[in-house]
Amino acid sequence: MELQKFTYDNKITRLFMNATILWGIVGMLVGLIIALELIFPLMSQNIPWLSFGRLRPLHTNAVIFAFVGNGMFTGIYYSTPRLLKTPMFSELLGKIHFWGWQLIIVSAAITLPLGYTVGKEYAELEWPIDIAIALIWVVFGINLIMTTVKRRTKHIYVAIWFYIATFVTVAVLHIVNSIAIPVSFLKSYPVYAGIQDALVQWWYGHNAVAFFLTTPYLGLMYYFVPKAANRPIYSYKLSIIHFWALIFLYIWAGPHHLLYSALPDWAQALGVVFSIMLIAPSWGGMINGLLTLRGAWDKVRESPVLKMFVVGITAYGMATFEGPMLSLKSVNALSHFTDWTIAHVHIGALGWNGMITFGMLYWLLPKIYNTKLHSVKLANAHFWLATTGMLFFAIPLYFAGFTQSLMWKQFNEEGYLAYPNFIETVVQILPMYFIRVFGGTLYITGVVLMIINLIKTANAGKFIQSEDDEAPALHSQSHGVDKGHRIIEGKPVIFTILTLVAILIGGIVEFVPMFMVKSNVPTISSVQPYTPLELHGRDIYLREGCYLCHSQMIRPFRSEVERYGDYSKAGESIYDHPFQFGSKRTGPDLAREGVKGGPIYKPDSWHYNHFLSPQKMVAQSIMPPYPWLISRDLNISTTSKKIRVMQTLGVPYPEGYAERANDDLLKQANQIAKGLRDGGIQVEDTKEVIALIAYIQRLGTDIHKPANNQ
């Protein structure tokens, strides 16, 4: 048996490691800022790019794609070559992957606060960045799969399977959900509308949790936990079974984000059933991770790395138990739109992704610097700060979620809503928001300790650029199979996969817009496309991230119909590219805000003053002020292009309307502005606020038009 010599490159691991730490702290700090803004709404000092709706997408994108993304790449680039006994396929592709990914993050960090957004949660980035993500992702995929093809071990360890599933599925998800038609360089409209868009979005959203935050990290767990404990995984068989079960089940669970919405019942039921089934493979993973440490709990006591892994895996188990529970319709009726969801995701993010990342870094950095961790004490301090921080974060939010939801649903003895004023339910939970900030601060303090500890460790050691290893070539291990055959056997796999991905991408991009456009046939005759002014107003609504605090989906419950008006119908949102159902009610639902005589209707002047200063209209409001909407001119040069794109998407504006659209726009703007001026408010016709008011007053009115009132 002839041994071949090769080296593992640690430089790429270190690059990703540094990026993980950098973006981790940035993402968490932005999270802290927006948590504070929910208590002190005036904190953004009227600076547009500091306001809640602009920073919240930055926080989620930074934590998911920058912190966890770089974290997974750190672990993948370290473990894959070692598991497969070969260097990564290409150092160049690795570098392109690294720098490309960082460039994407930087462009996200610039465009999101400036308000360039598609307006779909967790998929906010505009189309040029989306294309860049797809390309860099494929670079990563080629590098990963080709490394697998060139491996020197016959067996592909379970972690690698998790990595491959991550690559394949995220590629499909990202592309399908991001298909859009550009209006300009940084503005586009998704091809899907309304309930269709919602379904695609949450199919993506849920599987992003599954294949971006879960499967790669399970792969890391299967590598780093045995390594750190120096003992094999509890059951390798279980790891294989739960891997395949997990990836087969996850794809179908997305609709549980749309329970009680206008989505057909059977689709909701499908989502619920698969969500419940997901407990089994998820807990298979948790049990396997934890039991790996059986008989080694003495090591756990001593090693901060293992401690973090234990809490991380436990958090994974808790979150994957809670998830199926939240998918039950009766629980979801209570939990949806509240802080319960925020608590749930942070058990996953702070507990699972955070702790596994920290544990990995504490183990990995001393290793590639050929030294010992600078201070175990400091790492233990980090462990306790992170654990208590997570609890101080999540537990108050659970209370906030229950409290607010119960208050929303409470009727008094006369049969009226007990808390008809939304703000009462907000004020009630503000103390919980304070404690959440405290918890987050603890957590971030822990990360700062980690950074100090890791820097000192690195300074004490000497970086090992690359490590030598040797192993026999793959063909010499399998008896009776000649070299040539092996090579051919390897290549078709990669070719099949790559062609499949290529065909899938091509097919999707070609076929989806056609398919979707045809199906957007109106089902409620009174539902009409937005006027040009409303369309602009809607784009401002997206830009300011209003959807991150306001839902537009009234569920068919008595408490919601009383509070907001008639429940939302699927046919009402068929021209909504993108949909704006929202997922969180920090403020009230706006689906019927414009219905005159409805429970929450407000006149134009109220909205004007409210945007200028919410606190002037509702003293305890935590909505941020939007004075810039009042000073900024509406950009009407894009109107015709926007209308044309909408027409391409199947929205039935009359032919040639694009050219006339601005006439209508100015007329409507003048009408609204004149009304405001008559009420003593000095405002010009073409300010942004006029468009936003037009949009707000349009909301929910279609099915209430006198002519078509059923």
Binding site: H155, Y157, P226, N230, P232, S239, E302, K372, E467, V512
Partner: protein
């Protein structure tokens, strides 16, 4: 609901791909041995395996002393 049909179709393609991968894995003998891979991954460098083990043990004792 075109989107549902489309997603189901897509889900089946993805799941079908996974199924093909699964069948390939089983056929090619990936899972014939469901124990030793879990042990083999613990050794990074074959010749140094034994040495590493002792090193790690000393490491954990030093940690205890801290």
């Amino acid at each position: 609901m075109a989107a549902i049909i489309f997603l189901i179709f897509l889900g089946i393609i993805v799941a079908g791909g996974f199924l093909a991968a699964f069948i390939w894995a089983v056929r090619s003998g990936q899972y014939d041995d469901d124990y030793s891979p879990s042990v083999r991954m613990l050794f990074d460098k074959k010749e140094k395996a034994a040495e590493e083990k002792t090193k790690e043990e000393t490491q954990s004792t030093t940690i205890t002393k801290n």
